[in-house]
Each structure stands twice: as structure tokens, then as C-alpha cells.
């Protein structure tokens, strides 16, 4: 039975609401308001996990986001279990199940702990040095290294939780709800600014909320009492939004910030069902006030990592806020006054304090005097040289420091304890400031990096700006806020503030020991088992930059990102290398500040909302007729329509045969359509396309190739002249948006003299394409009044028509080589016209076909698809489309590039046809083409771009790009595949109806 270390004087924990939870399978109890860490400590459980490398027993060390050791696996559901969750940040809820990480079979008996005995042989960079030999063994080493790497277990099934995103815009964003954040929020809100206040805890107030010490008073009240009234007063502001349980994750340039709000993580399993778990706020703030506070530093000495070694300020929070004693015989070890606040709190709560070990010679501050008055024993100028105990600290060993603090002198004494509070001073949380691009400066007096210059509209206030005394926090914050918000006065001008002032400072980065450094384990990075020895080893081996030392030793590379370890690493490097810390700089603080779940990053962009989709007006018809869909850009295009158990090949063979033999129908609505109007529309098209447009008659259509400035094919399509100054251009499906942007860009920047206007009408029109020998008969049933004779309605022309009094445009154009028509009608009638055509075509066995058949039919005719047969490196000449380049036009986009020495090379890759020796052998698209198979290295001459089995030709056909291909027609080549080499013959690109007889059939 575990001891209950709960006291009953906490106002923040509801001790009437008992909550059961499981840790490592054992049922335990805590109270509403507890964190997992406080509840475990209340149950006298310190050992929560094992360290990464040496598998040393580790316990809860802090009470916040900087926790390096108390990281646990939460939940057992394979879809929702979460590794590396900080016990200090998990609010206790009914049904919580947590387990220790990095241990087997249990945290109490861990086989991996054998690593600790071998630790002298596995220092920093052991892996880099050891697993290099022999090089061929790396894959074998890798297998074992991968198995031992990582902390915790990832979920193996899709996350069932719901996540969300929201955008927020405000005048002032305040990060941190401690005393300085509260002052900032109230001041901003009082001045009618749209204000948002964020805090990662479940309530506001920070550490001042539980500061009931005579030494810290504001207007004669305890600072905590004063602050509570200030927090209550915030409720009166409608223009102030307060978000608790919300962690600022990232601070990007121009005051764009991301914050994660935990909405249901603190609720019981039943309460959180069907609710959003976490929300990622995307915040744009005109001004940002960072009031993120500071972190207490640990002290670096031999065996400073045992369970029971806890930051002094955390011990204070556990006793004052959670009502939990971290031990029954507590020793405190410090280099500053903060530990005395803890000592007084513990003393008032009736906890035995062995002593305070202080490395300083003396301190005359009021808080120290208060502690002395309470009879607390203080060892001045002493240090802890060792700790004892395996799964929990049991005693410490003390020695006196030499005058210069570099060695220990005198005799060693021992002190029994079950908890050691350590305090090494304070590190301002400057992470967010630097994420935003701010530069830091170094303050020598207390060895802190502080915010200096920033490009964005922001300030840092309070302890994150280096103010660690209560009066400095209030006065300096007030002054900074007024300047920042351009205010003349505030509510915080004439406060009477009493506080203890720290009079003496002393800092030793690596505390001396009575043993040589090599015989000690002074841990810097508690999660990654990086010690001061490792850092010194890295320096000996020539690593000078903090970034290099970090990577060589893994200091600061754990899930905590070295929040506790980085400053000491810097200090030891600086001391050893004989340079100033300020000159060394820091490692880069990258977002997120604390780990984000993938769910929070993704939000509701999962399942059907993974990506946006576009549907044609006929989509429902395709679905009803069993279509399989293909993603083309964001469009869902009907791919093929399997009947019964047909696979894609069978369906495509049937569809393409039907289209050639009788009639096929295709949904071509996805093609981009751009309405072009203006007196210079013809000249515009002359400049855009490679061929000439001025003489295109009204009512006629023309195919065009559009090039990039580099002369390479960019897009293609048919453009129709509707009237003198009115055209409609079609583009490829995937290229529509880019083509419109490019053309609009040209009109606005290069050709502003042209009187031309573009309007996207892609979605306005549905396009029904019917093709095949019977297409004319079908169309004549749908539009009986339309004269479809070749004379009145020849290939590459258009007619305005009415279908049941609804206007439409009918183009006689073909992408299949068959006699074809495209009906363009307002989208709202698209499905109805499709159904009408289908009904009219039934007697001709009209067959709906999808994009796969469309590709096959056009490949039979050698028609290219921009983006499939081209890849941004093909000119029209390469495609054997020299005929489309006007020799008479003064200019068009890409013309100059067509005459560069590289583009006129004759041995460029050129489009050719391929026929396999075995007519049933279908080549793989992307397969390489070679002329010799025995040559080493083998020379790749080109690759297959389109390949199909043609049921109409009863053989395999392919298009390819091939070096010097134009001159190689009739020659044999090889396509080497994994299991065999396929023989092919180079041919013309047109496989079917070279005379174009079918177009006019």
C-alpha cells in the first residue's frame, strides 16, 4: 500500500471529487484538479520511467512542460494511445491509463538497465564510432539500432479522435497568464483593444497564484490574493478572450502564431466522446506580448538524476497548489533564494526539511532570514557531491566548497532524505521570441539570455524578459505595456509592493566532486542521458559549435528539446573552451514549443476532407452507373465503367471498341474554359499560341499549343471563334487555373496595351462529348433542327443551338480521331443533356467511356497529352509538330527559345511510336529504352510515355520520347525490364487512320 502524501490545505484541488486511474496496471486515486504527476507523487510514486540510453530509473522532476523524465504512454486503445506525454501536463480524469516507457518487463525491473553497467564503454558518439566497421555490416547493425531506438509506442490504427482548426484575429495577443500576462491583458482590454490571453494551464495566475508568503505582498495583501482579484476583474471585459489549456506552439514571422487548445483531454472517457479533442488556433495578431515566464534550472552534480530529485520550485507548487508532499524528509540544494520560498512553504505545511545546501557564502535577503527564523538549517558554501539510492533517492553526500568554488574541501557528510529539491537559478523562456526571428542578448550578472531585437510588433515582459523579483515584474511590465500600446497611464502605477530581493549570486555550471569527472555521472540532459563528461569529450574531439556539440552528444534532442539542459551545456562548453557564453550563442529554438499531435496539425482534413474534390454536373450519373473515378487535379473524373466483374483492362477494351465501332460518350466538363473578349482578342491569341489566329473564321475552331518562355510545351487545347471579338479557349483539365493566371499576368504586366478580357467559365458549362461512326445520328435525334451535313457543319467548326429551348454550343472537334461532337451547355442542364444523349444513343449501343479509354483512343491517333507525353522539356519540334509553329508571326511566347542552340539540336529526345515484337506485350509507362543491352554502363536513350493494348488494332502500341527518335524510325530497340528484355520497333506516332477518314465518316 502506497503512502498518501496529501495534505488538506490546497484550495485548488477538489478533494471531494475522487478520481481513479491506472498507472502500470495498478489502480490509484487522485482528485479533480490533479495532474498525473501530482497524483502519482501523492501516492508516493516517484519512479515513472527509464532513461533512453542507460535505462536508469527516473522520476518526476518538474511540474510543467519542461519535464524531461516523467513521460508516459497514455491509453491502450491502438488507435488513440499516445507516447511521450508529460505526466506533469496530463490532467487527471476518470479512466486514465498510463504506463511507463522504455522499460521491459517493468519499470521496477528493466532488463535494459544492464546498459548502465556498460556506460563507461558507451559514451557520446559511441554509435558513430563503433558501427562504421565493417561498412557492409551497417544494415545488420541498423536492424538492432532501430529496434532499440525511440521512446514509447506509436498508435497502430487511425486516430478516432476529432480535431479542429480555427482562425483568430486580434489587436493584442498575450502569451502567458501569470502576473505580468494578467496585467497586460487587463490593460489592453481596458483600452478597447480586441485582446486574447492564452495560458497552457487550466487556470490563470502562474506561480503567483499560490504565493502566500509574507515576503511577497502587493498593497498589503499576499501577492496571490491581489492577483486573484485582478483575475476576477477580467470577466467584465467583452473584448477579452481568455483561453486556458492552450499552449502556444509556434510563433512565425509577421505575428502569425499557432496555439493548441486542449478541449477534452481533461474529461472522462464518457464525457469526451464525440467532442473535439484539440483545436489548433491560427492567430494573426497586430501586437504580441510574451509573458511566458521562466524555468528553474537544475544543478549539475554527480548522480543528480535519481527519482526524488525535483526542481525546488516544483516541490513548492506540489505542496502549495496540489497539496502534495514530494517527500517526508526533504533536502534542498540551491545557488539562489528561490529554494528558500520552497523551504518556507514546506515548513508551513509541516514537512520535515533536513537542510538547505547553498553554494553561496551567505545571503542577507529577507526570504533567507525568514527561513532562518523558522529554524531551517543552512549549509553555506557547500555542495552535494553524490546521491544514493537506486529507484529513489535515499541520501545525499555533502562537502564544503573551496573559496573559488572549483573544488571541494574538508570531510564528506551524509544526509538521509527521500527527496532533494534543486535550484540552479532561472532561465527566461525566450523560445517563442526567437522562433519569431528575434535576436537574444546575454546578461552576465545572472547568466541569462534575454530578448533583444525583433522585427515584429512584440514585447517580452516579466520573467521571460529577465525580471525575477516581484516589484521588477510588476513595474517593468507596466512600463513596457504602456509604451507598447501607446498609453499614458494604467491601473498599475502606484502599487505598494513588498518583496524579498536577492542580494547574493553565485553560479557554478558543473559542481565539483571529490571524485574525478570520469568516475561521476553529472547529467545534463536527463532524457537522453547526456552528461557533462560527454560535452567535454565532444570539445576534446574538436567540436566547438554548440550546434555540433548538440548533435554529437544528443544534448537537447529529446522530446523536451533540452529545456532544462541547454543552458548548462552552454556554460560547460564556454568554461572549458574559455569563451563567453554570449559569444557561443544558443541552439536554434524551432516550433513546436511542446510536441503537437498529428491530429492537431491535420485538423478535420481527414477522410472525405483530406483534400478538396471537384465534381462535374454528371457525377451522380457516373456513380449510378458504377464508374470508377480517377483524380485529375482535384477533379473526380470517371475513369472507366466496369460491367459486372470486369477489371479495368476489360472495361477499357470494351469501351474503346464500342467508341470506334458505333458510339461512345465522354464527360469532358473538366476541361478548362476561358472566355476571351476584346478588340485585340485575335492578336492576344497570336501571342499566346505558336500558330496563327488572325484568319480563323467566325464559327471555326483551331487547335493550339502554348509554350513556356523557354520554348517548352506548356498546355494545349482547342479555341473557338464565337464572334469577331469573342473566343472561347479550352485548356487541359489540370492546367486550367495556371493557364488563366499566366495569361492574366501577361495581360497585366507585358501586354497592357491589348484590349482583352479573360473570364473563367469552366464551371459554367457542362461538356458532353459523343464520338464514333453513329455520333451524327445520335446528335440529330438530340437536336433535330441542326444541319449536321459536312458542308454546313464541317470538322473544326461550331454551331449555336437550342436543346428544348436551352442554349448550347456544339463543337465538331475530335480527340479520338472519330467523327465527334462536343455539346457545351449550362451546367445545371448538363446531366439532363447527358441522359438525353444516352437515351438517343441506346439504339446505337452508345457506351459511356472514361479517361482511360480516352487516353487509349487518342494514343491510337498519336495525339499527345500535355503533362503525360510532355514533361516541360519538349518543344513542338520534339513532338514532331513542326507544322503548328507559324513562320510568319512576329512573336509568340517561347518563340526566341525555339532557336537556341540547345533547342535546335537534332539529337534531342523526340516523340516516336513503339511497336513490340510480340503484339500482346504491353510496355510499362516510364520504362527506359536502350539500343544495346550488353554495354556497361547502359545508355538510356528515352522512355515510354503512353502505352496500351489497342483492341481496334489488336496489338500493343506505345508512345515514347527517344534521343534522335525522328531518324530512328524502323530501327530495333530494347526495353529492359526486371525479368526480361522486350524488343521494340520505332514507328510513326499515328497508329490508326493516318488519312483521317474516320473524322468525316
Amino acid at each position: 500500500m502506497n503512502k498518501n502524501l496529501r495534505i488538506t490545505n490546497s484550495k485548488f484541488i477538489d478533494q471531494t471529487s475522487r478520481i481513479s486511474f491506472k498507472f502500470d496496471g495498478k489502480t490509484l486515486y487522485g482528485f479533480k484538479g490533479d495532474t498525473l504527476a501530482s497524483a502519482l507523487l501523492a501516492n508516493n510514486i516517484h519512479l515513472v520511467g527509464r532513461s533512453f540510453k542507460y535505462h536508469r530509473p527516473r522520476g518526476i522532476m518538474t511540474c510543467g512542460s519542461e519535464e524531461p523524465n516523467g513521460i508516459v504512454q497514455v491509453g491502450k486503445d491502438p488507435s488513440m494511445t499516445e507516447p511521450n506525454t508529460r505526466a506533469t501536463e496530463i490532467e487527471l480524469y476518470e479512466g486514465l491509463e498510463a504506463t511507463s516507457q522504455n522499460c521491459w518487463p517493468s519499470v521496477n525491473f528493466d532488463i535494459g538497465a544492464i546498459n548502465n553497467f556498460f556506460s563507461p564503454f558507451i559514451p557520446a558518439a559511441f554509435y558513430y564510432k563503433t558501427f562504421m566497421w565493417p561498412a557492409s555490416f551497417w544494415e545488420k547493425y541498423e536492424y538492432f539500432i532501430r529496434k532499440s531506438a525511440g521512446l514509447g509506442k506509436s498508435p497502430t490504427k487511425p486516430d478516432k479522435d476529432i480535431y479542429d482548426h480555427k482562425y483568430l484575429h486580434c489587436d493584442v495577443l498575450i502569451i502567458g497568464g501569470g502576473i505580468s500576462g494578467i496585467i497586460a491583458a487587463k490593460t489592453a482590454a481596458q483600452n478597447n483593444l480586441n485582446t486574447v490571453l492564452l495560458d497552457d494551464k487550466n487556470n490563470l495566475g502562474g506561480t503567483t497564484l499560490f504565493q502566500n508568503n509574507e515576503c511577497f505582498k502587493i498593497n498589503n495583501s499576499y501577492s496571490s490574493e491581489w492577483l486573484k482579484k485582478e483575475i476576477e476583474s477580467l470577466n467584465s471585459f467583452n473584448n477579452l478572450t481568455i483561453k486556458t489549456r492552450t499552449t502556444l506552439a509556434a510563433y512565425h514571422s509577421y505575428n502569425y502564431l499557432l496555439a493548441r487548445e486542449n478541449l477534452t483531454d481533461h474529461l472522462s472517457l464518457i464525457e469526451k466522446k464525440d467532442k473535439i479533442r484539440q483545436r489548433l488556433w491560427k492567430i494573426r495578431a497586430k501586437k504580441v506580448i510574451i509573458a511566458a515566464g521562466a524555468m528553474e534550472r537544475p544543478l549539475i552534480f554527480n548522480n543528480n538524476d535519481r527519482p526524488g530529485v525535483i526542481l525546488s520550485s516544483s516541490i513548492k507548487k506540489y505542496i502549495d497548489y496540489y497539496g502534495v508532499k514530494c517527500g517526508q524528509k526533504i533536502s534542498l540544494f540551491t545557488n539562489n533564494d528561490a529554494a528558500y520560498e520552497t523551504a518556507i512553504s514546506l515548513s508551513k505545511s509541516g514537512v520535515t526539511i533536513n537542510s538547505v545546501i547553498d553554494i553561496r557564502d551567505k545571503s542577507n535577503s529577507s526570504i533567507v532570514k525568514e527561513a532562518e527564523k523558522l529554524g531551517i538549517k543552512i549549509h553555506w558554501r557547500h555542495t552535494v557531491v553524490n546521491t544514493n539510492g537506486y529507484k529513489r533517492i535515499s541520501s545525499i553526500e555533502l562537502m564544503k566548497l573551496s573559496d573559488d568554488g572549483t573544488a571541494v574541501v574538508g570531510n564528506k557528510s551524509k544526509e538521509e532524505c527521500d527527496c532533494l529539491g534543486i535550484s540552479g537559478g532561472w532561465t527566461p523562456r525566450v523560445h517563442l521570441f526567437t522562433q519569431s526571428g528575434g535576436k537574444l542578448k546575454f546578461r552576465d550578472t545572472d547568466n541569462t539570455f534575454l530578448p533583444d531585437k525583433s522585427e515584429s510588433e512584440q514585447i517580452s515582459i516579466g520573467s521571460c524578459n529577465g525580471d525575477f523579483e516581484l516589484d521588477d515584474v510588476v513595474k517593468n511590465s507596466n512600463k513596457s505595456i504602456k509604451e507598447f500600446l501607446n498609453l499614458n497611464s494604467s491601473d498599475y502605477e502606484n502599487l505598494k509592493i513588498n518583496c524579498s530581493k536577492e542580494t547574493d549570486k553565485k553560479n557554478i555550471w558543473l559542481l565539483p566532486s571529490n571524485k574525478p569527472l570520469g568516475k561521476t555521472k553529472p547529467f545534463l540532459d536527463f532524457q537522453n542521458d547526456s552528461t557533462a563528461k560527454d560535452v567535454k569529450l565532444a570539445l576534446r574531439e574538436g567540436f566547438k559549435s554548440i550546434e555540433h556539440v548538440k548533435r554529437y552528444t544528443t544534448t537537447g534532442m529529446g522530446t523536451d528539446q533540452g529545456k532544462l539542459s541547454n543552458m548548462h551545456a552552454l556554460g560547460i562548453i564556454a568554461e572549458t573552451a574559455g569563451v563567453k557564453i554570449g559569444e557561443l550563442g544558443t541552439t536554434t529554438f524551432r516550433p513546436p514549443y511542446t510536441p503537437l499531435t498529428f491530429g492537431a496539425i491535420v485538423g478535420r482534413n481527414v477522410d472525405e476532407f483530406f483534400d478538396i474534390t471537384r465534381r462535374t454536373p454528371m457525377h451522380d450519373w457516373h456513380t449510378k452507373h458504377n464508374a470508377e473515378f480517377e483524380n485529375v487535379g482535384q477533379w473526380k473524373r470517371a475513369w472507366y465503367y466496369p460491367i459486372e466483374n470486369e477489371n479495368m483492362h476489360e472495361a477499357v477494351q470494351r469501351e474503346s471498341k464500342a467508341a470506334r465501332d458505333s458510339a461512345g460518350i465522354l464527360d469532358a466538363s473538366t476541361l478548362g474554359k476561358i472566355d476571351i473578349q476584346g478588340s485585340d482578342a485575335s492578336e492576344f491569341l497570336n501571342r499566346v499560341y505558336t500558330n496563327a489566329w488572325s484568319k480563323l473564321e467566325i464559327g471555326k475552331c483551331r487547335y493550339g499549343l502554348m509554350l513556356n518562355e523557354d520554348g517548352m510545351v506548356y498546355d494545349d487545347g482547342v479555341t473557338t471563334r464565337l464572334s469577331e471579338n469573342h473566343y472561347i479557349m479550352t485548356t487541359t483539365t489540370g492546367g486550367a487555373a495556371n493557364v488563366l493566371s499566366k495569361l492574366e499576368d501577361y495581360l497585366q504586366t507585358e501586354w497592357p496595351e491589348l484590349d482583352v478580357y479573360l473570364t473563367s467559365v469552366t464551371d459554367h458549362y457542362a461538356t458532353v462529348s459523343i464520338c464514333g461512326p453513329n455520333s451524327k445520328k445520335i446528335l440529330s435525334k438530340v437536336i433535330p433542327d441542326l444541319d449536321l451535313s459536312d458542308k454546313e457543319f464541317p470538322h473544326m467548326s461550331f454551331k449555336n443551338a437550342l436543346i428544348d429551348n436551352v442554349r448550347c454550343r456544339v463543337m465538331r472537334i475530335s480527340f479520338t480521331g472519330e467523327h465527334s461532337y462536343e455539346i457545351n451547355i449550362q451546367s445545371s442542364y448538363g446531366k439532363s443533356v447527358w441522359e438525353k444523349c444516352f437515351e438517343a444513343g441506346k439504339e446505337f449501343n452508345i457506351t459511356p467511356y472514361g479517361t482511360e479509354t480516352m487516353h487509349l483512343l487518342r494514343a491510337e491517333k498519336g495525339f499527345i497529352i500535355a503533362g503525360q507525353d510532355t514533361d516541360g522539356t519538349m518543344t513542338p519540334v520534339d513532338l514532331q509538330m513542326d507544322w503548328i509553329i507559324s513562320k510568319k508571326k512576329y512573336d509568340f511566347i517561347g518563340k526566341r527559345s525555339l532557336y537556341r542552340s540547345d533547342t535546335i539540336r537534332e539529337d534531342r529526345k523526340q516523340l516516336v511510336g513503339l511497336l513490340t515484337d510480340d503484339p500482346n506485350e504491353v510496355l510499362e509507362e516510364g520504362a527506359q529504352i536502350v539500343s544495346e543491352t550488353n554495354k556497361q554502363p547502359i545508355e538510356m536513350l528515352g522512355h515510354v510515355t503512353s502505352s496500351y493494348f489497342s483492341p481496334n488494332l489488336n496489338k500493343s502500341i506505345a508512345l515514347a520520347v527517344l534521343k534522335n527518335g525522328k531518324k530512328l524510325k524502323g530501327q530495333k530497340m530494347f526495353v529492359p525490364m526486371k525479368t526480361k528484355t522486350i524488343n521494340v520497333t520505332i514507328t510513326d506516332t499515328v497508329f490508326l487512320d493516318k488519312e483521317n477518314k474516320r473524322l468525316n465518316a
Partner: protein
């Protein structure tokens, strides 16, 4: 007869928000630069196209939304008669495009109009729209072209908590589905 099919044909009521497709209404895209173009539009529609960015003008029948310095979207307040829905387009085309004053393009089916009404409309939009609605929500007639769940939309602030949103037809089903999914969490 051909059947008319708008893509959504639905209306939903959630806590503090009603969303509904409003179709068929006529929508015409106008482009032009010179003063004669503005004058002619004003004469034909009895509304002067707004020249201030992201604003609109309107009367009982029509609204004109500013889209760019030389582009406007005209849409009707009332549903149109399907049997006679080309008259406005034809009239404007004859008066503007044919005489080389600018361009007139029928975009009635290019855009789908969704009306959002209720106290929580901006809550819904903030779930997927990066635009700052703080000033917009109090500016009757304001227009913005922005993204909603990655989809391009035009939003017209008709009245307090009463918005008309225009989305390209092909995206409309997806956006409608997303709006309904978002609305259930408000």
C-alpha cells in the same frame, strides 16, 4: 424538357446558423476599364459599379460586387425564370461587348450561391477561412474573395449576420459537406 439541376438543393438549420443554396439566380461577370464602360453599366442596370475595393452596390433587383479594378460580379436578388434567363446577359453583351467597351460573360452556373444566416455565421467561417472578419462583419455590403477550407469563395455581407457566399459549382458539394460538418461543432 431538360431538367434543371442545381448541385446542392438543400437547406440546413444548426445552432445559430442556417445555410441554404439559393438557386437559380443570374450571375454575370463584367470586365472593363474606361469611364464609358462604367457609365453604360450604370445606365443599363441603374446601379453604378463600385470602384472602392471589396465593396458592393445594389438595388432591389441586382447587386454588383467589386472583384478587381476592372472586374465585377452582378447577381440577382430574386430567383430567375428559367424560361427567360438570357435577356440581361444579351442586353449587356450587346451594349458592352459588341461595342468594344468591355466584356460580359454569363457565369450563372459557374458560381453557386449559398446563404449563411444567424449569430454564428462568422464562427463557422473561422473554422476554415483565414480572412479577418472583425471589420467586415460590421460593414454592410462588404465583399471579400478568400478561401474557405482551401476553396476559393466570394463572400458578400448582405446584412448583419446574413451572408451570400459564392463558390465554383464543381467545389460546391465538397464545401457544402464541409460546412455541415463544421456547423455541428458550433
Amino acid at each position: 424538357m431538360l431538367n434543371y439541376n442545381s448541385p446542392i438543393m438543400n437547406a440546413k438549420d444548426y445552432s445559430g446558423i442556417k445555410i441554404s443554396e439559393v438557386e437559380p439566380i443570374i450571375k454575370i461577370n463584367l470586365r472593363g476599364k474606361n469611364r464609358d464602360f462604367i457609365t453604360k453599366i450604370g445606365k443599363e442596370l441603374s446601379i453604378i459599379p463600385p470602384t472602392d475595393s471589396n465593396t458592393s452596390s445594389g438595388n432591389e433587383k441586382l447587386n454588383i460586387l467589386w472583384l478587381s479594378p476592372d472586374e465585377w460580379l452582378v447577381y440577382s436578388n430574386d430567383k430567375i425564370d428559367l424560361k427567360n434567363n438570357n435577356s440581361l446577359e444579351d442586353r449587356l453583351f450587346d451594349q458592352i461587348s459588341k461595342v468594344k467597351l468591355g466584356s460580359v460573360a454569363n457565369v450563372t452556373d459557374h458560381w453557386v450561391m449559398i446563404n449563411l444566416k444567424g449569430d454564428n455565421v462568422f464562427e463557422l467561417l473561422s473554422s476554415g477561412c483565414p480572412f479577418n472578419f472583425n471589420d467586415f462583419k460590421n460593414s454592410k455590403g462588404a465583399v471579400t474573395q478568400t478561401l474557405l477550407n482551401h476553396v476559393d469563395v466570394i463572400i458578400h455581407n448582405k446584412n448583419i449576420n446574413d451572408l451570400n457566399l459564392f463558390v465554383r459549382r464543381s467545389f460546391s458539394n465538397h464545401l457544402w459537406s464541409w460546412m455541415n460538418d463544421s456547423a455541428r461543432f458550433i
